[in-house]
Assembly symmetry: C2
Homo-oligomer: 166 residues x 2
Amino acid sequence: MPGAKLDPIDRQILAELQADGRMTNVELARRVGISAPPCLRRVRTLEEAGFIRGYHAEIDPRELGFEVQVFAMVGLNSQAEADLSAFEQKCREWPLVRECHMLNGEIDFILKCVAPDLSTFQSFLTGQLTAAPNVASVKTSLVIRDGKNEPSVPFEVLEDRLNRTA
Amino acid sequence: MPGAKLDPIDRQILAELQADGRMTNVELARRVGISAPPCLRRVRTLEEAGFIRGYHAEIDPRELGFEVQVFAMVGLNSQAEADLSAFEQKCREWPLVRECHMLNGEIDFILKCVAPDLSTFQSFLTGQLTAAPNVASVKTSLVIRDGKNEPSVPFEVLEDRLNRTA
DNA sequence: GCTGAAATCGCCTAACG
DNA sequence: CGTTAGGCGATTTCAGC
């Protein structure tokens, strides 16, 4: 079971850094109740072990002029591994596509896209996405507003779960 | 037009901090070609103006024991504003729901969820989500793998666009 | 008004117990 | 894991353009 090697302090470190990635190490150490040097060692270990993939400023797309956010549901003609990978590669090359997730069921991929305006997105949709090799169908939905948008992991659930097993 | 008040240095600061949110201020200043104090002032201004919403460590959910990632497409019975808000509020209270976006078209909301395992998700699905007031239909798709997962904003597109206008 | 230079203060981060 | 200690970054102050 992954996560088993982490003690409560490690998990708290991850939770704190997920909430505020620019927290100083001494502040972090204070919050988790140890002194700074071991705290820093833990952070480095967590980074190297792949628990922490990186640190990012969260930027408001609308403030920057990206007024449009769209989800695209994509079906392919072939689901052979080479064709799936080829499509993923295309997504990595398209800057308007921010996320590309392979799904089970009738939809093959869901894409989260941003664009400065609708016409930019439309021309990407018709000129690039729909026109790409192997793409069978694309259904798009505009995002009206975001009701919630949190970084990846709910630590509360993790703690609940470990308490229940304990 | 939003983003018009930002000069090229501000945009570069945002791009650098989106790529590495823990970069030191002196390193950031070096990269954007100004000295540290004005660089720090710009960062503070960008934070206060809402361009930067926060800083987060990016944590690998699978490493932490969240093996399951699911998209849920939700339709409601009533689309009155009070009912839409009520559903969004529910999503904010459910820790397994990480994102909740209101969409146009026949789907009302798309939810990105995580869970430690399938059975945890299933019990959330049947016990909470489908059972919530006003929920008419829920279709779920398991994520097989992530082909791309990038933070919000493609600065390349912004620069292209500004160059074209200039 | 905004930038850069100098100086202070606090943090980072090694070495050691 | 804690303590100590030296070097570096952060942040304020002040002068210059």
